[in-house]
């Protein structure tokens, strides 16, 4: 299923790539000029995903509740409060080239943000009995992923105006999260004095995707961007991201540090999603 979704995403890019390649084909066979080479050291990429949903409910039992329309529903806690809808994840990444040869390798940092909005529940029974009813009181969950990324881009043929650049990326993730009440105050668990709903979870990620070179769509604009702004290349990007964010790296360190001690439990903020965006190289 994931492969079909990937194919559906990449197919339009491939068609566009053929068209762009034909546009730039007139330079094939001629010696590369400095303008063709367009040296670059930095990449800035802005990405969005509309299908982001963390795997935060993994392993959680279902909780039954009555929704605002009076219908009885059942689901794990995050689903109950924030519903099934995917939300927008925005990401800004800045990369610095480390090596250029048969492709290029760069490292960079990325900062993202996503938020979920929903309704809290009211317990209409006396404790310890729980009878939840969805209340018209807002609640929000916020995520700020901070990532350290290493990217390999196969851009060897870009000077020859071949418009497709496959890439793979791996990284370490630090995801800051917090849950807020309608007033904006950080939620807390009344039974524990230190259990405020704000924290950080670490993880790893890998992604693969393709970049579509836009330089040859309009050569004049591309040359102006190069000479006036120093933009060497402009791309559209699409990728599939798989994140495992459940304190993996930290737990390894913790195990080494404590001689195999059990690491503390954490939210599972893992996610797998497609994203798309635009990248410019300087």
């Amino acid at each position: 299923m994931r492969a079909l979704r990937a194919l559906a995403l990449v197919a339009p890019l491939a068609v566009a790539a053929v068209a762009v390649a034909q546009e730039g084909a007139d330079v094939d066979g001629t010696p590369l000029t400095l303008e063709d080479l367009r040296a670059h050291q930095w990449t800035v990429e802005l990405r969005f995903s509309t299908v982001f949903y963390p795997n935060v409910d993994s392993g959680a039992p279902d909780v039954t509740f009555v929704d605002l329309n009076g219908n009885t529903q059942s689901g794990p806690p995050f689903f109950d409060v924030y519903g099934p809808k995917h939300r927008l994840l925005s990401d800004l990444e800045v990369d610095r080239d480390l090596w250029q040869g048969f492709g290029s390798v760069s490292v960079g940092v990325a900062l993202g943000y996503s938020e979920f909005y929903g309704h809290g529940m009211a317990n209409s029974c006396q404790l310890p009995q729980l009878c939840f009813t969805q209340a018209p009181v807002d609640s929000s969950f916020h995520l700020v992923p901070v990532r350290l990324l290493a990217t390999y881009r196969f851009d060897y043929f870009v000077p020859k105006h071949f418009p497709l650049v496959p890439f793979v990326r791996v990284g370490l993730d630090w995801v800051i999260y917090w849950n807020a009440e309608s007033s904006g105050q950080i939620s807390f668990q009344p039974s524990g004095p230190s259990e405020n709903a704000i924290g950080m979870v670490t993880g790893v990620e890998g992604s693969a995707g393709v970049m579509l070179l836009l330089d040859d769509v309009d050569g004049d604009i591309s040359r102006d961007a190069l000479h006036d702004l120093g933009i060497s290349h402009t791309y559209l990007t699409a990728s599939y991201v798989d994140q495992i964010i459940q304190n993996g790296p930290s737990n390894v360190i913790h195990a080494i540090w404590t001689g195999g001690g059990t690491p503390p439990a954490t939210l599972d903020l893992s996610a797998a999603y497609f994203d798309f965006g635009v990248a410019v190289q300087f």
Binding site: A60, P61, V63, P76, P77, F78, D80, V81, Y82, L98, V107, G118, G120, M121, A122, N123, S124, L130, F132, T133, A135, P136, V137, S139, F141, L148, L172, W174, N179, E181, S182, S183, S187, F188, Q189, S191, G192, S194, E195, N196, A197, I198, G199, M200, V201, T202, N247, P249, S250, N251, V252, I253, H254, W257, T258, P263, P264, A265, T266, L267
Partner: protein, 343 residues
């Protein structure tokens, strides 16, 4: 109670036989300078309202004063109140007036705003019956001929306007009460002028709620007439006086959103909202609305109810687990960068 005083400094200059112009008046409370014919329209003006007016007949209300410098001994000054900006001369007792003829020293004339309003309107109960409008403070100066050859009599008027509103603040409308955790979120609309030109914006609201309404809601967060609270949809001022009170900040827009906090979940509360002017003039109460705060279980609490164990915070702090990988990566990057430079 916020008092206000108006200090008009009127400067008269005379040159030859020409009449000196009264140029400006200054209202001290708002530091506003008014010119002839101008009506105070400033956000700093607190307005002249019923409570100030009613207390104005006593000594604890600051009078506004009129002072001016005399430069011509042959000038007659007449100061009076008027509801007409053209300042027609008062007739009989129709207006409060002061007359100073041929002053030889700098006169200091004082008058209570209340007296001026009552005298101008000819109504001793003006503080409660005057409604709203603009009261003009008029100063008429007359220069008599100073030689037997100059028989002309010259007069000039100076007037500045002071808005007054003896009506109590209108009752808030569109009150909504939304239950939250130990809180009732309130919203209401009221007359609000962003410029506050007439000083008529409420200075604050008081939310009244009964001290002991230990009744349970008919359904989750919802209370009605059957909750045993205040049955009528309005409450009298006497009823309100016995209720708990919570004062809001000064509103900056309408509708106003405000939360009544520190309440007990699951208990009905009747609430009514009343506007106040800065001088303490109390408005009419809104209707009485009822609701009960509800204990909210947001995601974080549901997560723990479902046996979730994350306690927040930066995990593995003792081991530095979240920071060590970052440190290692940065060290490697630094090493790579140094190696590259060395080439």
């Amino acid at each position: 109670m916020k008092r206000f005083s108006l200090l008009f400094a009127l400067v008269v200059g005379v040159s030859g036989s020409a009449l000196g112009q009264i140029t400006t008046a200054t209202i001290t409370d708002s530091s506003t300078t008014l010119t002839n014919g101008e009506v105070i329209t400033t956000a700093g003006y607190p307005g002249f309202h019923q409570n100030s007016c009613l207390q104005g007949s006593g000594n604890d209300f600051d009078p506004f004063s009129i002072t001016w410098t005399v430069q011509a001994a042959t000038t007659t000054y007449l100061a009076f109140g008027s509801t007409d900006s053209s300042c027609p001369a008062p007739s009989g007792d129709g207006g409060y007036s002061l007359t100073v003829e041929n002053p030889t020293i700098t006169p200091q004339l004082s008058a209570y705003m209340t007296q001026l309003l009552q005298g101008t309107l000819g109504d001793p109960n003006a503080c409660t019956t005057a409604g709203s409008g603009t009261l003009y403070l008029c100063v008429q100066q007359t220069i008599q001929p100073d030689t037997i050859y100059d028989t002309s009599v010259t007069t000039e008027d100076f007037a500045v306007g002071i808005p007054y509103d003896m009506n109590p603040p209108a009752a808030p409308t569109g009150v909504t009460v939304t239950p939250d955790d130990t809180v009732l979120d309130l919203s209401w609309s009221f007359n609000y002028d962003p410029t506050n030109a007439a000083g008529d914006n409420p200075d604050h609201f008081v939310v009244y709620y009964p001290p002991d309404d230990s009744l349970v809601p008919t359904s989750l967060g919802v209370c009605g007439a059957s909750d045993g609270g205040v049955a009528p949809t309005t409450a009298t001022t006497a009823e309100l006086a016995a209720w708990e009170q919570a004062t809001t900040p000064t509103p900056t827009t309408s509708p106003m959103n405000w939360s009544l906090g520190s309440l007990t979940n699951g208990q009905c509360y009747d609430v009514a909202v009343v506007a106040y002017y800065s001088d303490g003039t109390q408005g009419n109460p809104s209707g009485v609305y009822s609701a009960a705060p509800i204990e909210i279980w947001d995601y974080w609490r549901l997560y723990h109810a479902a046996s979730g164990q994350d306690q927040g915070g930066v995990h593995c702090q003792s081991a530095g687990g979240t920071l060590v990988p970052l440190g290692l990566i940065l060290v490697v990057l630094f090493w790579l960068s140094q190696r590259r430079r060395a080439r």
